[in-house]
Symmetry: C2
């Protein structure tokens, strides 16, 4: 697995390379997320980010050939801290030694990016204060909901609102387990084994299953959204461990399903918060969360409900959040230099997709066959024909969905059909963005 990058490398693309001052990065911890970050950084997408160190305990077993040769592998944290790295990327997890490393890095004036929810839940305010005093930055967008940008969505995104309620699915492992039980009627133990085989769940999954992971993330969200400091250990948790297939049968009877829900609310001057399994409507944003997705629903006094959803776990999505934080720091360092480079490009609408077409045939013809002929003549296949013998539709309209083809080809076929007098009025054509 280590012999190749976490995913295929960047291919050349239309998107121009942002060019900025180089930012020297030291990565602490070369696990799943660390490897994914290194993969993104060694592509050509972000030349302003230069990976300088990879630190890990017993680093020799971690070495991979695809990391550029000028990256220095080390198991000596003192070497990293003494280096000229601008940003330390803490991906080791847990409180110690991460806490000491981050404090020392900040004290040395190095900015820090971390995905460590435990550390930030326990020591975030103190570390932020230290960073501020040193004129450097501490970013932790990856600590909550992995690739879903909920922290910047809440602040600055919704900082102009007065948030009243936060309700979310913040642990991908639990969601994978509960979604598997929901849709495939497997036992919790079997779903957990599958999550472990896929690398979602740790060998010791109790932090996930018992809600300790989600409550650390909830404490961070409470800080960002409510400006309140809640001790994570005071947040009541209930394990999903005792949820059985029978509970899903009962839930389905109610139009519901079961998810691990983390919620916080301001009610009559009190902060309420808990984490645990809950019944949610099957068609709600929380009920729709599949596999290891994360979701956050915020309720604001002025803006109402806002939903954020996406890939909340896994190496690559979490690495996206880490790299976004790195870019923000690199950008702030270079803020005065230049704005983003924008390339002006022409716009095409030659999407290839399925198309929906509704026509009103002229009376004299076998409309279906004529239209089918016009489409076939352009190489377009019919996927489905729809016809309503509807008494309130005197125009005898006819609709069809094509297989995937270009918009231009459909328009050309319809133009010909119209010119041939087969259509009583201009047809309606729309993309049919169906998943099946």
């Amino acid at each position: 697995m280590n012999a190749s990058p976490a995913f295929p490398l960047s291919e050349p693309s239309l998107q121009p390379l942002p060019s900025r001052h180089s930012c020297r990065v030291a990565l602490l911890g070369f696990g799943t997320v660390g490897r994914a970050v290194a993969t993104i950084l060694q592509g050509d997408s972000f030349p302003q980010l230069h990976l300088e160190f990879i630190y890990n305990r017993r680093v020799d077993r971690k070495r991979v050939p695809w990391v550029p040769r000028d990256v220095r592998w080390t198991d000596d944290i003192e070497e990293v801290l003494a280096s000229d790295a601008d940003v330390v990327l803490e991906l080791a997890g847990g409180i110690e030694p991460a806490y000491s490393w981050v404090k020392r890095a900040l004290a040395l004036g190095k900015s820090v990016v971390t995905a460590n929810k435990k550390l930030i839940a326990a020591h975030g305010p103190e570390l932020l204060e230290l960073a501020r005093g040193q004129g450097c930055r501490l970013e932790f967008g990856a600590a909550v909901a992995g690739g879903v940008p909920v922290l910047c969505g809440v602040s600055p995104g919704l900082s102009g609102d007065r948030l009243l309620k936060l309700c979310g699915i913040l642990n991908g492992t639990c969601n994978f387990i509960l979604h598997a039980m929901d849709t495939r009627s497997v036992s919790l133990a079997a779903a957990l084994r599958e999550a472990q085989q896929r690398g979602y769940a740790e060998a010791e999954p109790s932090d996930d299953v018992d809600g300790l992971d989600a409550r650390a993330k909830l404490a961070i969200l409470i800080r960002a959204g409510f400006h309140l400091q809640a001790d994570p250990q005071q947040i009541a948790t209930q394990s999903i461990w005792r949820v059985q297939p029978a509970d899903f049968r009962y839930a389905h009877e109610l139009g519901c399903t079961i998810r691990q829900v983390a919620r916080a609310e301001i009610q009559t001057g009190t902060l309420l918060a808990d984490v645990g399994p809950a019944l949610v409507n099957a068609s709600s944003p929380l009920g729709c969360a599949r596999d290891n997705q994360n979701v956050l629903v915020t309720t604001g006094k002025y803006g109402g409900e806002t939903v954020f959803a996406g890939a909340g776990a896994g190496g690559a999505p979490t690495a996206v959040a880490v790299v976004s934080d790195l870019l923000a720091i690199a950008q702030s360092q270079a803020a005065a230099v230049a704005g983003p480079t924008l390339t002006a490009v022409p716009v095409s609408y030659a999407f290839r997709c399925r198309h929906y077409v509704r026509v009103t045939p002229s009376h004299k013809l076998d409309a279906v066959n004529s239209l089918r002929g016009a489409l076939t003549g352009k190489g377009i296949k019919l996927r489905r024909l729809l016809h309503h013998a509807n008494p309130d539709d005197p125009q005898r309209s006819l609709a069809l969905v094509t297989e995937e083809c270009s918009t231009q080809a459909v328009d050309e076929a319809l133009r010909q059909a119209r010119e041939a007098g087969w259509l009583a009025e201009a047809p309606l054509r729309m993309p049919a963005l169906m998943s099946s």
Copy 2:
């Protein structure tokens, strides 16, 4: 309508007031959004934002009594530009005179916040460059998707990804119309009249209905997500005007519905983009958009699909985005002064909600009546009883959903039931977060 604020004023709350240097704000345009911004600013939520001017043409007809007396009403733009306002809030809309005002304000070193998608789509890069050169800021989070923080979600939120696709519902008026046709089988003309009566749609709705509003927003998103500059006028649009009730009947037959979709994609080195009605799966994030909601689905190479959804239109949600931008500017001005004030608070889990309870009764008793008695004794009402005579459930479990009550009351009733020997094993209790 003008006699009272756009919505009720802030009541005292647990949330502490952020304290920062004061930022003087001049508001240009006192329409729906302007009134909502003034309402938020005159509450006690954001003491660091001080509303100094309200400019409008023929301002006397706009005056309202609930705006603090020290706010100066004016119809003289020169007075505003010559003032000591730190930030100009451009809510007039359209290209001119907004373009001239914004350029002049930036040239004077004043930061600008705007909700004007047309202006930003046409002149964004030039104005950003001007702001950068002057050492001030131009923010336009409200220009796309109103209260849903999609712009900061895309960048910085997802800047560490390589975005490949953007697909969204960016016009609340069209969504209101199509959702009404979808669920209430009304004609487009009737739905449009309703949107106008509710104040969503303009008297001249063609910018919305024909897709010009959504394509300006799409051009801004293409810039933020792809770092590409697309001329909005090159983005193909199709009006929703010709969508008929018959199209919804056909769409429903396919498990689909119809929405106005704005999409952009990088395919083989080309930028594809268009706006118009499209079939979407009824259960997809786009298909689930109700009323005047907005949705954006991004697809990234590393992070996969991310969904942002919420209130995309309306005065109050748009005002949230405007005030969030104002706060970001105020914060950057005061960055060195102090961090956010966090209040440490105790956490309670005394949520009042419905509860799901599954018990395994001991053999000797009438379980239902015993349990009902225990719950009633705590003032808890039963909402629904669920029982599966399931052959693979030898434990004869029994589940119920209570009416809204406190978690503690349920736990206490269950503890008594257990101590009385009515339950064969520990019960499972979860919040039932059902909407009906």
